[in-house]
């Protein structure tokens, strides 16, 4: 009888355990839906919010990634908090002991809070979309969850989001004036320095010249945009002399542009990632991650871990890149080629309104590839399905590194970068990405 009773009890415990496991799985499914829905909206808001130039978008996506990750840390999944690992993030709010919390509702509370703040500048349609998403997700996340748990969980999630926003308020990127363009800009008149490349009035000053002074996430802080933690070679000395190294590099851009193949044109357009027309470069790499996570059936824990690493890697890549850009402040190909080689020349792509060296695409793509390679291996073949402008079809790659390499060279095909900016940028990005990869996320 005692044995039977014991067995009955064991069965009951097992059933309870299985029920708890099944319920946890169900809640993870609900949380995964919350995660994917908010990220889908966030990528659209990146495209549709004027403040969201690529550096600013990278910061927003990093904060979202950290928020999603930290929302799950106290769940007993074996995740380690990033507080104490990320610059300036010392602690995050504790949860009340003995109170039950729901993963999906906590996550929703955090993402709702972060999206509302990070994309507060979006227009009336974005605001309407955020309101619709907030209402929909609140309802979906809370389905089947006791009201008191919903209230406590939402509060905890919102508190987490608010704490992260407080932390980010001092990173240097929280306030963006005039869409990131200084109200005035005085060139020094040095040969080879960046000068405006368009006839757009707003872009007669370069974008976010102080972004390199921002506090990085995982990368060591920079000092006056000079001491890059990974280092970068100096750009080729400026020269207008035929036969000089700089002139030769310019000729390569010029000659390549004049003989672009269909595939090269396709590559340039595929990776153009223009602000306000696409999800921008950091959004592109987040989209690649989301696609691969879906393909691989990543569980919720691994997804938030990956999103945090990717976001952090992208944000640090832009800080490092911008520090280098404004340290060297070099001229774009359109300026040089029109002055020295062919005054009627125009590149395939619109030249971005900031200095040339190093290539932003090369830095951040290399960082993205470093993160993804660490997560999925060096030979993960995939077809990038990210939406591209002008209906450019998807492109297939043998590895993340191959994708990053193509993103880099696309800027030469597009006529907006010289080769050293691509080569050296990729080295810088791979190094910066390492800081995100080396974060400790598992106990």
């Amino acid at each position: 009888m005692q044995r039977r009773s014991f067995l009955t009890g064991s069965v009951a415990l097992a059933v309870l355990s299985l029920t708890a496991t099944a319920r946890a799985a169900t809640r993870d499914e609900a949380a995964a839906k919350v995660l994917s829905s908010w990220y889908r909206l966030a990528l659209e808001l990146v495209r549709h919010t004027a403040t969201m130039t690529p550096p600013v978008a990278s910061r927003a996506l990093a904060l979202l990634g950290v928020g999603a990750y930290e929302a799950l840390v106290p769940d007993g999944r074996g995740l380690v908090t990033l507080a104490g690992q990320l610059n300036g993030l010392t602690t995050l709010p504790d949860r009340a002991p003995g109170q039950g919390y729901d993963t999906a509702v906590v996550l929703n509370g955090a993402l709702e809070t972060l999206v509302a703040a990070l994309f507060s500048n979006t227009g009336p349609t974005g605001q309407r979309a955020m309101a619709a998403m907030t209402a929909k997700m609140a309802e979906q996340a809370a389905e089947g969850v006791a009201a008191d748990v919903v209230a406590a969980s939402r509060s905890v999630g919102a508190g987490l989001g608010a704490a992260l926003l407080d932390w980010a308020a001092t990173d240097g990127g929280a306030v963006i004036a005039n869409q990131g363009f200084p109200m005035s800009w005085a060139p020094k008149g040095t040969p080879g320095e960046w000068v405006p490349t368009s006839k757009i009035a707003l872009q007669q000053a370069p974008l976010l010249p102080d972004w390199g002074r921002n506090r990085p996430f995982a990368m060591p802080a920079l000092t006056d945009m000079v001491a890059l933690p990974c280092g970068i070679a100096d750009p080729t000395p400026y020269s207008e002399d035929p036969g000089s190294a700089f002139h030769t590099e310019a000729l390569e851009v010029y000659d390549t542009a004049k003989a672009l193949t269909q595939d090269q044109t396709h590559i340039a357009r595929f990776w153009s990632d223009d602000a306000m027309l696409t999800w921008t470069p950091p959004g592109h790499w987040v989209a690649i991650l989301l696609q691969v996570a879906e393909e691989r059936g990543l569980d919720l824990t691994a997804r938030v871990e990956a999103l945090a690493r990717m976001g952090i890697g992208q944000a640090d890549a832009f800080i490092a890149c911008w520090a280098a850009k404004y340290r060297f402040n070099t001229v774009r190909p359109i300026t040089y080629i029109q002055k020295v080689i062919d005054k009627a020349w125009t590149p395939l792509l619109n030249t971005p309104p900031f200095p040339e060296y190093p290539s932003g695409h090369s830095v951040q793509s290399a960082a993205g590839a470093r993160v993804l390679t660490a997560l999925f291996g060096p030979d993960y073949a995939f077809a990038d399905q990210s939406p591209t402008p002008d209906g450019v079809p998807p492109r297939s790659f043998a590895s993340f590194q191959a994708a990053a390499d193509e993103a880099g060279i696309s800027r030469l095909y597009g006529g907006i970068h010289f080769r050293p900016a691509i080569v050296e940028g990729a080295k810088l990005g791979a190094c910066v990405g390492g800081f995100a990869v080396n974060l400790r996320t598992r106990a």
Binding site: R40, L41, H48, P124, T125, K136, A201, P389, D390
Partner: protein, 518 residues
């Protein structure tokens, strides 16, 4: 531009380095007009004003879109020097109206009105004495049920009934992910004394302005469409061949993708090459396009920056954030022979990245491009502007200004001349072509005004702007010239005879007959 400017010296003597700033008097409070375009998200665009004479007295009435408020027609009772309007019960008091354009659809000599809505569009037949009657069924017009936001009209060669283009915006039922949901644009072609079922112009990219225009003087108009990049995916500005099966101009014809927050189109010959140039309103920089490589290629270059016409941020008031442009018109408000530019500005709603206090622009054409004078002229309204009109409201030959505002009252300014006492600006002409039979207002034709060797040529169009347009007297500034030679190139290509007209008069220009002074 330079050649044009040199030629202009013969016209506007003495040449002015700084354009004469006209003085505008705000007569809104006493005008009798009390109307606002109201509504939330669904009425963040549109909100135009149509100017046309429906009373037969030669003065333009004003019809305002109302959004969630009823649209309203104001009958013009102005006398020279005093703007006066009275609300007119007309049959046009529909709700959900986003814009309207006058057009004598049935060519009976009484102006009709095409009314765009967030909902079913309407064609309203003019009955005379500013009374209108729904004609959708009588004229076979399928008004659909979209968020309509752009309009243009023309008469295709040989047609006795107009072709209409109606552009639409977002699928208004999409809440969380409206981006990429641009709904179709429609082309209504004649079928007897009415319209055939509309033809979808695909792809559609959330049009906010359309204009039939003969950009290369081919004798056949094309359709320019200015699209809002905020909502399309893979979209661009568009130029359509108006053929049996309309087709888009492509790169092989010189057309280059341009992605802007396209909101309004204004057209006039700015650079003096006798081909129409196009001002495209947007957010931050506005665009001014001229032919890049002659009429053989549909290739345009943006010359706004060089000519000081970007109007990209407020020039007064202290709010330095980028601007949001809506309605634009190119007209000569100071009668010096240079076209000037009126741009109605206003934040979409409360977008923090863009100026809240965003003054309307009055950019005066001069010998080095355009000079901002909105504040000096007294028209730098900070209201949330949408539609507008540059039109002589009181019949004194000077162009007055109208602004239609969102969630704020419309405004009217009277042009008092070079000072408040009415001192003259330059000389001027007001001209109204009259064609027999169909297309009585000669839409698709041209008026040419010649002083010395210089010719001003203006295309007669219906469309463009933001949510509204006008038909009526066509104004030309003459500078110091006391007479000018005038002719009409009719829509069928017939060139009227040059005839000399004394300045400062209103003239009807009947086809085949001498001008008739009003």
């Amino acid at each position: 531009m330079k050649a044009h400017l040199i030629l202009t010296l013969t016209l506007a003597a003495p040449a002015l380095a700084e354009p004469q700033v006209p003085v505008f008097q705000d007569q809104t409070a006493t005008s009798g007009i009390a109307h606002a375009y109201t509504g939330d998200w669904e009425f963040m665009v549109g909100g135009g004003v149509a100017a046309f004479d429906c009373s037969g007295d030669g003065l333009p009435e004003l019809f305002f879109a109302g959004g969630t408020s009823p649209a309203a027609l104001y009958r013009n009772q102005s006398t020279p020097g005093k703007l006066a309007f009275a609300p007119q019960v007309s049959g046009l008091e529909a709700d959900r109206v986003t814009g309207a354009w006058p057009l004598d659809v049935d060519s009976d000599g009484v102006m009709d009105l095409v009314v765009l809505r967030s909902g079913e569009d309407l064609v309203m037949r003019g009955l005379g004495e500013c009374q209108f009657q729904r004609a959708n069924e009588a004229w076979g017009f399928d008004g659909g049920d979209l968020w309509s936001t752009a309009f243009a009209a023309t008469w295709e060669p040989g047609a006795t009934w107009p072709t209409l283009a109606v552009g639409s915006y977002i699928d208004r039922k999409e809440e969380a992910f409206p981006w990429g949901s641009c709904t179709e644009n429609r082309l209504y072609r004649p079928k007897g004394q009415g319209f055939a079922a509309p033809l979808a112009l695909k792809p559609a990219f959330c049009a906010l302005s359309m204009l039939f225009t003969d950009w290369n003087l081919s004798g056949r108009p094309s359709l320019r469409v200015s699209n809002d990049r905020e909502y399309y995916k893979g979209g661009t500005e568009q130029l359509w061949h108006l053929e049996a099966e309309p087709r888009l101009y492509g790169p092989d014809e010189g057309w280059k993708p341009l992605k802007i927050w396209g909101m309004g189109i204004a057209s006039a010959d700015v650079n003096g090459d006798l081909y129409p140039d196009y001002y495209l309103t947007s957010m931050a920089d506005q665009k001014l396009q001229t032919l890049a490589d002659g009429p053989g290629k549909a290739q345009f270059k943006d010359v706004a920056f060089g000519l000081g016409a970007t109007a990209h941020r407020p020039y007064v008031g202290g709010d330095a954030r980028p601007s949001t442009g809506w309605h634009a018109e190119l007209q000569d408000v100071n009668d010096d022979g240079y076209v000037d530019l009126y741009v109605v500005k206003g934040n979409v709603s409360a977008m923090p990245d863009f100026a809240k206090d965003d003054p309307n622009n009055l950019l005066l054409g001069g010998d080095t491009g355009f000079t901002e004078a909105g504040d000096r002229a007294g028209v730098a309204s900070m209201r949330q502007g949408r539609g507008g009109s540059v039109v002589d409201l009181d019949g004194d030959g000077r162009l007055d200004l109208v602004a239609a505002n969102r969630n704020a009252g419309a405004e009217v300014w009277r042009n008092t001349g070079s000072d408040t006492a009415g001192a003259p600006l330059g000389h001027w002409l007001m001209l109204a072509p009259q064609a027999p039979g169909a297309n009585r207002d000669a839409v698709g034709g041209w008026i040419e005004v010649r002083v010395g060797e210089r010719v001003q040529r203006r295309e007669l169009t219906v469309g463009g702007g933001q949510g509204g347009g006008q038909i009526g007297w066509r104004h030309f500034g003459l500078g110091a010239a006391e007479a000018a030679e005038v002719r009409v190139i009719w829509p069928d290509g017939t060139q009227g005879a040059w005839q000399s007209l004394a300045a400062d008069g209103f003239y009807h220009l009947p086809k085949g007959d001498p001008a008739i002074k009003r």
